[in-house]
């Protein structure tokens, strides 16, 4: 099976109602497993589109900037507390989640990441590190329940999940900075 085939299989697997329900029943798994996996499925599926429509990506995403912007915007959109809630209560939003994360995040990420300069990569990485820190603090410190469909304790877990991710990003950044210096 081709890479795109695996991606599609992953997407279809995640979309099986009981599987989707299982992932969505726990807040942190909804945001930190299901959503990234959907992006990953798109990341694999991207090869199909790249082969099929090479001209399109060549023309419209020449330097990767439009693609990485699209990825960042759509991915950030799914970090809003409300979108997570509505994915559970509004079927159209749920469908949009399963379309937007693979095809508007995963596909452009694959196409863009290898095109953008190191400088842009650094900016994207730093932005998401800061965003994750901010969201972690928001979910932990928020005095109220941000999502109606999840318990407060789930919200705290998610907040710490975000902080843990941000800390991992930071460790990577520190590692990168030091090894880069050694190399030069």
């Amino acid at each position: 099976m081709t890479q795109a085939g695996y991606g599609l299989a992953l997407l279809l697997f995640l979309a099986i109602p009981p599987i989707a329900h299982l992932f969505e029943s726990i807040m942190i798994i909804h945001m930190h497993m299901q959503m990234p996996l959907l992006v990953i499925s798109g990341f694999f599926i991207a090869t199909f589109f790249q082969k099929r429509y090479p001209g399109f990506f060549e023309k419209w995403n020449e330097d990767g900037i439009p693609g990485i912007l699209l990825f960042s915007i759509v991915f950030s959109y799914w970090m809003i507390p409300r979108t997570m809630d509505e994915a559970l209560t509004v079927p159209a939003v749920e469908v949009f989640k399963f379309i937007s994360l693979p095809f508007l995040c995963g596909v452009p990420l694959r196409d863009s990441w290898f095109k953008i300069s190191l400088f842009v990569k650094k900016i994207v990485f730093a932005t998401f590190t800061l965003l994750f820190f901010a969201l972690g603090v928001l979910y932990i410190k928020a005095p109220v329940q941000l999502c109606n469909n999840y318990l407060l304790i789930d919200q705290l877990t998610l907040g710490w999940g975000f902080l843990t991710m941000a800390i991992c990003f930071m460790i990577f950044i520190v590692y990168y900075v030091f090894t880069e210096k050694e190399a030069t």
């Binding site: 020449e62 439009p66 912007l69 915007i73 507390p81 509505e86 329940q145 109606n148 304790i153």
Partner: protein, 213 residues
């Protein structure tokens, strides 16, 4: 077409899409949580209080007609709640203190509605009531709705989401609900902003009834 021009167009299209996505997703940058969206929607729709039968801590049974001609300030609670309900009811009590004395009972009725009718029988409600000196059982009543269908209809109409957790507790969204004498929900207020809520009530009820502070 020049590559540079195409690049600019692509970036603009993406940004416009992003703007539209966030604009639609947050109702024009006003609601970032489902709770805000819910309150905004309720205020726009102004649903009618459904026909339900209450049973209060004195075992009296009645419908909303009992409060005909009065505004009703309602909260949704369950008595075994150890966290937010107590804050909610304490704050309601503070609102009670802030309102002009002549308004209470005559123009406005305080009402706590339990969504856990199994545990919250009249005896339990009566005990719970003693925690709040202002809850006299008359001008401020603690009630339950026994009929599950009626309760569900009310919770649905007023957008109250109740999720049971694994310890027999419930997570739920909280607010003050102000219902006008015709049984229409007219205000959903932040229960943490006590003074703001009291002022709003005085303004609405006072305007209608000609009372002043």
């Amino acid at each position: 077409m020049q590559a540079k021009k195409r690049h600019t167009i692509a970036v603009i299209v993406v940004l416009l899409f992003g703007f539209a996505l966030f604009y639609i997703g947050t109702d024009g940058f006003t609601a970032y949580t489902a709770e805000t969206a819910r309150v905004n929607k309720l205020m726009a729709e102004k649903p009618q209080f459904p026909n339900v039968t209450f049973e209060d801590s004195n075992k009296r049974q009645y419908s909303m007609d009992e409060f005909a001609g009065k505004y009703v300030l309602a909260t949704f609670i369950y008595t075994s709640c150890t966290t937010v309900c107590i804050d909610l009811e304490m704050n309601m009590s503070e609102v009670y203190d802030l309102l002009p004395k002549q308004m209470i009972g005559k123009d406005i009725q305080f009402l706590s509605i339990s969504f856990d009718p199994e545990k919250d029988d009249p005896e339990t409600l009566d005990t719970y009531k003693t925690m709040f000196p202002n809850a006299d059982g008359d001008q401020w009543r603690m009630t339950r709705i026994q009929d599950p269908n009626e309760l569900k209809q009310l919770l649905d109409e007023f957008g109250v989401i109740v999720i049971p957790d694994e310890y027999g507790n419930y997570a739920h969204n909280s607010a003050f609900y102000l219902i006008d004498p015709e049984g229409t929900l007219i205000e959903v207020m932040d229960y943490t902003k006590i003074e703001e809520a009291a002022q709003k009530i005085v303004q609405i009820v006072g305007d209608e009834k000609g009372d002043s502070l």
